[in-house]
Amino acid sequence: MINPIKPQLKLSTWRSLLIFCMLLLGLVSLAGRAAYLQGMNHDFLQKKGESRYSRTLEVSADRGMITDRNGDILAISSPVVSIYADPAVVKISPEQLKQLAGMLEMDSEEINAKINRKNRFVYLKRQIIPDDAEKIEKWIKATKSKSKASSKAKEPAIEGIYFTYESKRYYPAGEFAAHVLGFTDVNDEGQEGVERGWETVLAGELGQRRVIKDNKGQVIEDLENRPPKPGKDLVLSIDRRIQYRAHEELKEAVIAHKARAGSIVVLDAQTGEILALTNLPAYNPNRRSTITNERIRNRALIDTFEPGSTLKPFTVAIAMEIGKVNANTVLQTSPGTWQVGKKTIRDVSNKGELTVAQIIQQSSNVGTAKIALSLDSQTMWEMFNRSGFGALTNLGFPGEASGILRPYNKWRPIEQATMSYGHGISASLMQLARAYTIFSSGGELKPVSLLKQDTPVMGQRVISRDTAQAMSIMLEMATKPGGTAPLAQISGYRVAGKTGTAHKLINGQYADKSYISTFVGYAPVSNPRLIVAVMIDEPSAGKYFGGAVAAPVFNGVMSSALRILNIPPDAPANNVITFTATPEMGDEG
């Protein structure tokens, strides 16, 4: 055994000092770093840390409901489920993928492409019925519990597929209120009609929640909670019952007369509220595939046309107002034509000597033109202007048309003459209906509105009460035998109105065989409550006079609306006088 010789290590002091200093330096830098992180960067790091386990959830806000004036639902949002995936964590076997594709009624290739994207969020399918979504959710949960029970389960757990609630707009009224309501897109934003015009009222504001989730994905704590602001409900002036009747009547007429299109406007004669507004062709807002540009058009507001004879009462009214004529003034319309400059104004037949009242009743172009040319062009322009022609109806609808009313200093005599019976001037059906409030309300033009009015609205006086009353008598005569629209008569009620049959303007030329048939009228005459305006575009099944095409539609809509609103009759029930149609019913112009 050899005693080990302990090696004498002679360490110089500087070395141990060096080690000590280095250790100390390390310690100080660690402490410094710790202090730096804890003190200076605390907030930043805290946030970073939270973001590892906190999630921001968006809480959708319900879009406001749209109801009619009686509270019946016209548009309502109902929750639907959208399925999304996080491609970074998706785990699904090819068989399961096929199964999922089957449940979603999608192509498995399509889903596969979606879950292989690079981003961390992708919708698999949007807006499916909650019941269907629940089935899929249960199925996914089942695969999870199976794979937990035995690690050798054939089906692996499906991961990375989530569900979220969204809301979808439903329109129980379907086609018949489509043009009023419009529709929303997949992101719940209004695209047409009221949905677009009142978007700011209807749309809610998204809420936001920042939450902490545990490892099971359950929310365990709210860090921040900004609740969503739901949109406001909108009460329209529309009456769903009248709207439905109007649409049905219009449909029947458009089919029967093989028309290209048609519109109906129903106004409350006292408040100017729109009780019904419908057009054909229409679409079903619940089925996006039926939506085409042609069908979307809200013709009653967007399309203008030459109103034809329905404009005659305005010419006559102003002539009476300034005392040029009265209801019994006699004018010579023989021989049924009248030369103005190079052009000839024609009546359907030679009507001989007519009183002013008969000119309206029988819709004489020659008579009206003669009255018009006795007027100063500025006076006539002012009458049209104050009756709302050439001015927007200001409903708040996207795309409203104002029509054309040319400045009076550019009128030539022939133009003034044709304008008196509604040619060379254009208006939308809504403007025409609004203008007739002058006759139904004793001389005041009422503003129209699409929202329910709680307080009585002030109109703007256009003609005196006396003139309005005199016009009302003439317009009632037009619906009696000898007038142009006996088919507008309603049993039990006194009805007043005016027909119009205008040649259509196609590319600046009057088309020979294309007409627009109109009828605007109101009832009951003793105390007018409703105005109904009907426009049928290009009736091509033989008949085309307003009295034969549009007046029966007016009759159908008006009589049901009077019944629906329980308006008391102002005439005996046997007031309707039937007779066989004569050529005098024609009112071309």
Partner: protein, 92 residues
């Protein structure tokens, strides 16, 4: 001094445990609340669907058809309608 320290340590432990339990309770209650919220949402969906169903069922086209076809109802002609006017009743 030493006893006081022991006391403080015990108090500290008790408070710490209290915090832990209350946190636990909060989470439990919170989860219950979340569950209720899910139920609320489901009821909301149900409500929306029922409203929708109701307004579809009372659609006039449907009622009209049932009245006409199944119940053989008609709109009475004006000649067979009797109008009764309401005379205002004087109070007092």
């Amino acid at each position: 001094m030493f006893k006081l320290n022991i006391f403080f340590v015990i108090m500290l432990m008790a408070c710490a445990l209290g915090v832990v339990t209350s946190q636990h309770m909060v989470r439990k209650l919170f989860m219950a609340l979340e569950k209720e919220k899910v139920i609320e949402q489901k009821l909301d969906i149900e409500w929306g669907r029922l409203q929708l169903e109701q307004s579809t069922l009372i659609m006039h086209g449907r009622i009209e058809q049932i009245a006409k076809d199944r119940l053989n109802m008609i709109v009475p002609p004006a000649t067979s309608v009797q109008i009764l006017s309401i005379t205002p009743v004087e109070q007092r």
